[in-house]
Subunit: 103 residues, 2 copies
DNA sequence: GAGCATGTTCGAGAAAAGTCGAACTATGGC
DNA sequence: GCCATAGTTCGACTTTTCTCGAACATGCTC
C-alpha cells in the first residue's frame, strides 16, 4: 500500500486529530466534505503552492485524503467512508455544518 | 466567567482538536472519560508536575475539563456534557472505547 | 509560626510545525 | 526537442510546543 496514503487503522488517532487541528487544513477538509474530487490547486485559502502542498501532505499522511493524478493536475478527495468507519461521527462533529450543499 | 475555563462556544474547534492531538492529553481525557472527578496529580503517565500542569492547562483552556480545589489537591473532571452538546460524537469517536460494550 | 503537601508560574533549552522562495519533477501541447 | 503548467521537495527562517528544574503560591497540621 502506498505509504503516502496509509490505512486509517495504521494512523494514530493523535495524528488524525493533529491534521485537523489547523485552521487551513480544517477548511480544506470542509471544502472536501461536500464530496467528490477537487483540483488540488484551489483548495483552502490563497497561499503559496509550497504551503498548500505541505498541508495536503499532512492530510494525506493522516489518512484523511486520497489523491489521483490526471494529466498535470491532481484531484483530492476526502476518504469519508474510511474515516467514518474508523472514527464514526468525527467529521460530523468537527465540520461546521457541511449542509451547505452546492454553491 | 472564569477565563481559564471558557464556554465551549468561545473556543475555536481547532483549539479543541489541538488539545486532543497529544498522546499525553488524550490519555488524560481517556482516564477522565469514565466520569467523576480525578485528583489532578495522578492523571496520565508519570511525569514532572510542571509538565502535567501544563497539559492540564491546555485541556482546561480548550474547555474540555473543569477543576475544583479541595484542600491542597485539585480535582479534575471532563466537561462531557458541554463537549457533547457542542461537538456531538467527538469524544466517542476519539476515545478508545472506554466502555467496551460487547465482543 | 514552622514544616509539609499539592499545584502553578517562570525561564530556558530542545524539538517540532508553519511559511515560503527557489529548484526540481512530471505531464501535455506545440 | 522546447516550453508552459501543476505539484513536490529542499533549505532556511520564524513561531510555537514540549519539557522540566527552580521558585513561588496555597492550604493543611502541628
Amino acid at each position: 500500500m502506498n505509504p503516502d496514503e496509509p490505512a486509517l487503522t495504521e494512523v494514530p488517532v493523535t495524528a488524525v486529530l493533529f491534521a485537523l487541528a489547523d485552521p487551513v487544513r480544517l477548511q480544506i477538509v470542509g471544502e472536501l466534505s461536500g464530496g467528490g474530487e477537487h483540483p488540488c490547486g484551489h483548495l483552502g485559502p490563497d497561499m503559496p503552492k509550497a504551503t498548500r502542498s505541505h498541508h495536503l501532505k499532512v492530510l494525506r499522511e493522516a489518512g484523511l485524503t486520497s489523491t489521483r493524478r490526471e494529466g498535470t493536475t491532481k484531484f483530492v478527495r476526502l476518504r469519508a467512508q474510511e474515516v467514518g468507519e474508523r472514527f464514526p461521527g468525527l467529521l460530523d462533529a468537527v465540520l461546521p455544518v457541511p449542509a451547505e450543499p452546492a454553491r
